[in-house]
Structures are given as structure tokens and as C-alpha cells.
């Protein structure tokens, strides 16, 4: 199985080399047979990577502890689900996993567009194969997961040596969410390769119009959706498992996942400028490029040991490979841009400050500033060492100071942007669209102030959150009213009709609402409380409205670990409301311990109880946190994902626009029925998802 896997990887590498060589030859000669042959090589690469992945999984499930990677990350008593997740728990496996997920995307793209867009696809295929070659180089020659263990005998001759049992999986990773979070986040990272390949391919091919944008829109949304979900799952894992009461620490690895999300979000918005108005072509191309670079940077930050992090990675030579790849990719993009820059000229200029265009410009500016701030904060030690010779790091205050105002401004734009008209918006329509929502926000903030809320940013967040929610509701209401007046259907079914007719727009509103919840949830941090004390049976701790009553303390032996569990009764007033069981686990194989946090979560607040350890005298220490509103973040995340999925659904039936300026919006998301009135412009596109 191990030989099978490593040969599959080697063969995949050579197929990828052929896919590039054949692809370039196909571009130069335009011979259909070569185009087909290069594409088939692309398919072969993907299938071979799947086989290699399958064989690595098999090695885990058959407990092959003669394999270095399996022995380091699994053991016999590990439950099947964690044997599955252990596949990507370490360097080598996670790199293969990168290749694996990328190959799923590549396969889907090659398959979906087989025989279509003959001017563009060979270029896209070459770019994708180029990215695959890099990762296959890592899989084959730098960090192979298929290495066997060896030992030297007395005369110094190496021979194969299997371990009786593996060293086990890191306890912090033995958590069901770990089966979902890394694949999700990696699907985000890898997914941005597709828009990158299309952008670079279209630039190299000087492919006319905005077609590559229509082709990649869904791929970008899929990648974005995975990235959003992956980031939030990571935050949730940190919250539920690490036991420090928080979910975001501005750790380099967290930042690494946030950066491509920020540029990806900017791109999803600014493409609309290009689709509708033919503006910002250069900007969009570079946004896609940067998003891809940041994905590669993020992947390498977690592995190269350049910046120290909670996820603390060993210094490893692997960083050089990533920097080299990044350097080459940037160089290729620069050259491609320089040679074809005339192809990216804008059709239009900005007409007015109060327009959809300018709101997108500000949205992009602010997201990019956030990204630059996060990037410079993350790389501060590296930068300061290069500039001044001393290594200086910056902490959460730096990130919070910059990013909280940015978040507020973004929230404001979220409410304002979608309701502004293209080109120019009149004062009259501003009053009509924003008067009531703004009033609602101000009233909410005033009530909160009267009730004793004094934190500036939280009040502002509440005001804007209510404002955005009301603008979104008014959009749904207004659209539904028009439909209901025309068809006589009731308001509820009109809302659903409205949404299904233009999933992109209304899905987008739902995503916006999800983000409002996320922001509201984050703003709760301002009111977090926590308390730590040594406790024994019978003792009590008061936090907020709750009283924690320590009842007893027991220890049980499980197959893989020993669990020490504390039983706490939670009282509110004098009434018993629930029992909580914070726990610590000691894993025999790795001699590591893990904390199982007990969380009681409501939309209003989380009661988060940690068994923090024992004092030298043996008394257990309990650390309790009261974190308001946290659950809104997770709920908001779910809504963001649902909204994105909705936006991916093709429109049920195209309709004539309610507002002339919005014409384009209604037409994306083919397939379209034949009777739809044909409107001019590049907006009429087939997505190739048929």
C-alpha cells in the first residue's frame, strides 16, 4: 500500500509535468488533439492523487506503524473517526491533503468545461497544473507521507523497523470538529486556486470581455463559503477545546486564514463593478492574484516557523520551497500583467461619491486596509528585524485598534451599499431608503444607552446592526410587495418567490444579515467576565447571576485516556438550572492532557467552565467565564453559509428588473429558460454548470 501510494504520487508528478508541457504546446500549435491530451493528463493527475490519498488512509486504518507518518500520528486505541482525521494532522499528510482537495477542484473544472472555451481552457489547465506541480514536488520529494521507519543495528546498517504502537494523535485534535474544520478551511485555501487560474489564464490568453468573471463567480463563492465556514469552525474549536475562554487571539495562523478571506470578500464585491460597469479590471485581476498569494502564504506560515504562534511549528526547511514558489508565482503574474496591461483598460469612470460604485470602492479599500494591517501585524517581527535589526511583535491591541473601526465602517457600508443606485443616487432616494432603518438603529442605541450601555463601539455596533437588519428587511418587504400586488400571492410566498428569482442578490442579503449577527456576537466581548478559584466539594463560586456549586470529583479510566471529571450544579437565584461537567483527560500514549470545557450556551450568554488543573496541594482549580452573545457568532456563521448556498442556486426564473439600473443582477446564474427576454451585454452568460 505504501509503495502503491508513493508510485501514484510520482506518476501524478510526471503527468502534471506533461499537462503543463502538452498544454503549452497546445496553446502554441492550437491542435485539438494536443488540447485534449493535455486535459486528459490533468484528469490523470487528479485520479492518481486520489489513489495516493486512499492508500494513506488505508495505512492509517490498518495500523501500519512501520510508516513514519502513521506511527507519529496514530495508535491502536485511537477511534476510527480520529484515525481518519489523523491523516491530515501533520506536515506531510496535510500537504497531501492540500493536493487532494485541489485535485477535486481541478477535476471538476476540467470536467465541467471539457470541450468548451477552447481559447481559454488550455491556459487555465496550464496554470492549475503549475500549482499542482508545486504541491506534488512537496509530496514526492520534500515531505513524503510514505516514508518508512528504519533503525540502525549494532554494525550501523539500517534496516526497516516497525513500531509496536504509534505515538497517538495530539489530544487537542481529538475533537469531532477536527474532522470538519481542516478540510473546510483547506477547501477554502485550495478553492481560490480556481479563480486565480482563470484570471491568469484569461490575462495570458487576452480572453475578451468579462467572461472569465462569469465563469469563476461560482467557484469563488464556493471557495469563499468554505473559507468563511473554516475560519469560524477554527474559532469555535479554539473556544470549545483550548479552554481559555476566547475564540480569536490574532494568532499568526488565525490571521493567515483571515487575510485571503478579506481579499476574497473584496473580490466578490468588486467583480460586480466589472460585470456591470466594466470598471476596475486591473484591480480585480490583482485582487484574485493576491488572494491566491495569501492562501499560499497562509499555508506556509503554518509550516515554516517564520513567525512563532500558539500553533507553534517547528522550524523547517519547507519554508524555502514555499517562498520560492510564491516568488515565481508573483513574477509570472507581474510579467503577464505587464505584457497584457492594455487589455485591462476600464470602460467607465466614477461618476459620483454617493453611488453603488463608490460604496464598492470604499468597501474594497477598507477590506484591503484591514488585510494590510493584519499582514503587517503578523509579519511585524520579520519586518522589524529586517528594517531595524530588532525583532518586535505586536499583540491584540494593535489588531483591535485598527480592525474594530474597520469592522464598523464595513457594517455601515453593508447597510448602505446595496441600496445605493449605480452611477448616482439622489437625496430623495437616500431619505426614502435609509430614513426608517436609521431611525430604528438610533432608537435601539438610545434604549441601550438608557439601560446603561456605555461602551462606544458596542453602542455603535448595535446602532449599525439594527440599521443594516432593517434595510435588509425593507428590501425583502418592498420586493415581495411588488410581487404580491402582481400575483395576488401572500407576503410569505412572495418573499420566497422573490428570493428564488434572484438568488444572488437576496442570498447576498442573507449573508449580510449573518455577518451582522457575527459582529453583534463579537461585540459581546466587551462585557466578558471571568473568575478563577480553588474549589472543593461543597464550595461555591458566584459569577454574574449564577452560583456554581461544586458537588463532587471523580476519575474514570477510558481506553485511550483517564478522565478526571468535576460535577458542578449551577444555580440562578436559588433555583437549580443545570449541571455542568468540566473534565480533564490524561492521554497515556502521549502523556499529554486535554481540557474538556463545559459550556452552557444561550443566545444571551455562555457560561463557560474550565477545570484548569490542580494546585500543588491537589485541590482542583475552576475557572469560570461569562461570555455574552458568543452564540450569535456561530449562528451568524451558519446563516452566512446558508446565504452563500442560496446565492449559488440558479435563479428559478429570470424576471425583468424592478429598477433599470439593476438589469444585470437578474441574469446571472444560468441556466435560463428559453423564453427569457434576451438582454444585451456580457451579463448573459452560461456558467457551464449544466
Amino acid at each position: 500500500m505504501d509503495l502503491f501510494g508513493s508510485y501514484a504520487l510520482l506518476l501524478a508528478f510526471f503527468c502534471a509535468v506533461y499537462a503543463i508541457g502538452g498544454g503549452i504546446a497546445a496553446i502554441l500549435t492550437r491542435r485539438p488533439l494536443l488540447i485534449k491530451s493535455a486535459r486528459n493528463a490533468g484528469f490523470a493527475v487528479c485520479v492518481l492523487i486520489w489513489l495516493a490519498m486512499g492508500s494513506l488512509m488505508t495505512l492509517f486504518f490498518t495500523d501500519r506503524f512501520d510508516m513514519a507518518y502513521v506511527a507519529a500520528h496514530s495508535n491502536r486505541t485511537l477511534s476510527p473517526i480520529f484515525k481518519f482525521t489523523a491523516v491530515w494532522a501533520g506536515q506531510e499528510g496535510s500537504l497531501l491533503f492540500w493536493s487532494f482537495l485541489l485535485s477535486i477542484y481541478v477535476f471538476s473544472v476540467l470536467f465541467a468545461y471539457r470541450g468548451k472555451h477552447p481559447e481559454l481552457m488550455p491556459y487555465v489547465g496550464v496554470v492549475m497544473a503549475g500549482v499542482q506541480i508545486f504541491f506534488l514536488t512537496m509530496n514526492n520529494f520534500v515531505a513524503s507521507p510514505f516514508q518508512v521507519l528504519g533503525a540502525a543495528n549494532s554494525s550501523g546498517v539500517l534496516h526497516l523497523a516497525a513500531m509496536a504502537d504509534g505515538r497517538g494523535l495530539n489530544p487537542l485534535l481529538q475533537y469531532p470538529e477536527m474532522a470538519v474544520h481542516p478540510p473546510t478551511l483547506y477547501s477554502g485555501y485550495t478553492g481560490f486556486t480556481i479563480p486565480f487560474a482563470f484570471a491568469l489564464g484569461a490575462l495570458l490568453a487576452r480572453y475578451p470581455g468579462e467572461k472569465w468573471i462569469h465563469l469563476t463567480r461560482r467557484w469563488t463563492m464556493i471557495a469563499w463559503c468554505f473559507q468563511s465556514a473554516g475560519i469560524l469552525m477554527g474559532a469555535h474549536w479554539a473556544y470549545a477545546v483550548l479552554g481559555w475562554g476566547g475564540y480569536w487571539a490574532w494568532d499568526p495562523v488565525e490571521n493567515a486564514s483571515l487575510m485571503p478571506w478579506l481579499t476574497g470578500t473584496a473580490f466578490l464585491h468588486s467583480v460586480m463593478m466589472q460585470e456591470k460597469r466594466g470598471m476596475m479590471r486591473v484591480w480585480n485581476v490583482w485582487l484574485v492574484f493576491s488572494t491566491f498569494f495569501l492562501c499560499i502564504l497562509g499555508t506556509s506560515l503554518t509550516r515554516s516557523g517564520v513567525v512563532s504562534s500558539v500553533h507553534a511549528f517547528a522550524e523547517s526547511a519547507i519554508g524555502h520551497w514555499f517562498w520560492s514558489f510564491l516568488g515565481i508565482a508573483i513574477l509570472i503574474c507581474l510579467i503577464a500583467y505587464w505584457k497584457n496591461r492594455d487589455y485591462l483598460r476600464s470602460d467607465n469612470q466614477l461618476d459620483s461619491m454617493v453611488s453603488r460604485e463608490s460604496s464598492f470602492l470604499f468597501n474594497n479599500l477598507i477590506l484591503l486596509v484591514a488585510c494590510v494591517a493584519v499582514l503587517s501585524g503578523t509579519l511585524f517581527p520579520v519586518l522589524s528585524e529586517a528594517v531595524r535589526g530588532t525583532k518586535i511583535s505586536v499583540g491584540p491591541p494593535f489588531f483591535n485598534r485598527v480592525n474594530i473601526p474597520i469592522a464598523m465602517f464595513l457594517l455601515f457600508l453593508t447597510g448602505v451599499g446595496p441600496l445605493l443606485a449605480w452611477r448616482k443616487t439622489s437625496m430623495e432616494s437616500l431619505r426614502r431608503n435609509f430614513g426608517w432603518p436609521l431611525l430604528g438603529g438610533v432608537i435601539a442605541a438610545a434604549i441601550a444607552f438608557a439601560l446603561g450601555l456605555r461602551d462606544f463601539y458596542v453602542t455603535l455596533c448595535l446602532l449599525l446592526g439594527v440599521f443594516v437588519t432593517l434595510t435588509i428587511l425593507s428590501e425583502f418587504y418592498r420586493g415581495a410587495r411588488v410581487i404580491s400586488a402582481r400575483t395576488g400571492a401572500n407576503l410569505v410566498s412572495s418573499v420566497s418567490q422573490l428570493t428564488m428569482r434572484n438568488t444572488r442578490r437576496y442570498g447576498g442579503y442573507i449573508v449580510h444579515f449573518g455577518m451582522v449577527l457575527v459582529f453583534i456576537g463579537i461585540s459581546g466581548t466587551a462585557f466578558n467576565q471571568d473568575k478563577q478559584m480553588e474549589m472543593s466539594p461543597g464550595s461555591v463560586m458566584a459569577i454574574g447571576p449564577y452560583t456554581l456549586h461544586f458537588q463532587n470529583f471523580d476519575s474514570t479510566q477510558e481506553p485511550n485516556f483517564t478522565a478526571e471529571r468535576i460535577t458542578i450544579e449551577v444555580l440562578k437565584g436559588n433555583r437549580s438550572v443545570m449541571m455542568l461537567y468540566p473534565e480533564r483527560r490524561l492521554y497515556a500514549s502521549s502523556e499529554e492532557s486535554g481540557t474538556m470545557v463545559a459550556i452552557s450556551s444561550t443566545l444571551k450568554e455562555d457560561l463557560y467552565v474550565v477545570y484548569a488543573g490542580r494546585n500543588p496541594n491537589g485541590a482542583p482549580v475552576i475557572h469560570a467565564y461569562l461570555n455574552p452573545l458568543v452564540k450569535n457568532i456561530w449562528l451568524g456563521g451558519v446563516i452566512v453559509v446558508l446565504g452563500t448556498l442560496l446565492a449559488l442556486v440558479p435563479n428559478r426564473q429570470a424576471v425583468l428588473a424592478f429598477r433599470p439600473a439593476e438589469v444585470g443582477v437578474h441574469l446571472h446564474g444560468a441556466p435560463q429558460p428559453a423564453h427569457v427576454p434576451i438582454l444585451p451585454g456580457p451579463a448573459r452568460s452560461s456558467e457551464g454548470h449544466d
Partner: protein, 136 residues
């Protein structure tokens, strides 16, 4: 043009905030070997030091935890006074990063301790050669 002014104001404001944030939270990296050589303000700044926890040196007292950090042959006595429970990965021999200040008596008072954890990617052995089986 107008957009340029708006953008300038925004970027300017954020740059100021970034500068304030940097002043508030900047931390200098030092190695244990460098510490005795620091003079003047450099010796009193907030700093971050890395090393391994000396086996058997972790001692719990009320309100603080003492341990010794080792790097090569140099050692540094540390008192952790933070309120957060120490990470599970913090134990004898663990690689860790501490953040805080040096007291006049040479003891490092740490407010934060990070220990190596989670997805600890180990350096890949040179490809082609079998890994010596050092762990049992």
C-alpha cells in the same frame, strides 16, 4: 479626486490607530543569552523569550507558578503571574514562549505563557533516508 480625499482620511486615521496600537503592545524578542547584556530602557521593555522548560522545575505557589527556562546552557528563572490557566501542553521539557518583563533581581515575571501545541508540524527528515527509530 473626492474618493482620493476620502480614502486618504480613512487610511490616515487607521494609520494613527495602528501606531497607537503598536506602541501599546509592542514586544521585543530576546534570547536568554542576550538578557544579561541589556541596559537602560531595553532592559525594562516588554519582551518575549523562548526556551524549554527545565525538567522538574515547575513549582506551584499561591498566585504564581515558578519554573526555569533553558536555552542551550543558559537558564532563566521565571514566575508566571497571569490569570489564565497554563496550557495543557505546558509541562517538563515543553518548548514555550513567555511574555513579560524582567525584575531588577533578574527574575522574569511572565504574564503570558504559550507552549507548543496542536498541529505541531515536525521537520521532515531528508527524503529517501529512513528515519532513525528513536522513540519507542
Amino acid at each position: 479626486m473626492k474618493f482620493g480625499i476620502g480614502a486618504g482620511v480613512i487610511i490616515g486615521t487607521l494609520a494613527c490607530l495602528a501606531w497607537v496600537g503598536t506602541q501599546e503592545s509592542k514586544t521585543y524578542y530576546h534570547t536568554i543569552a542576550e538578557l544579561p547584556g541589556l541596559t537602560g530602557t531595553a532592559a525594562h521593555q516588554r519582551m518575549r523569550v523562548g526556551g524549554d522548560v527545565q525538567a522538574g522545575s515547575i513549582k506551584h505557589y499561591s498566585g504564581r507558578i515558578d519554573f526555569v527556562l533553558v536555552e542551550d546552557t543558559k537558564t532563566l528563572p521565571v514566575s508566571y503571574v497571569g490569570t489564565d490557566p497554563l496550557p495543557d501542553t505546558f509541562k517538563d521539557g515543553a518548548q514555550c514562549l513567555i511574555e513579560g518583563k524582567i525584575e531588577p533581581d533578574g527574575r522574569f515575571v511572565a504574564e503570558q505563557v504559550q507552549a507548543k501545541c496542536a498541529s505541531k508540524y515536525e521537520p521532515a527528515p531528508p527524503s529517501g533516508t529512513p528515519t532513525p527509530n528513536t522513540k519507542s
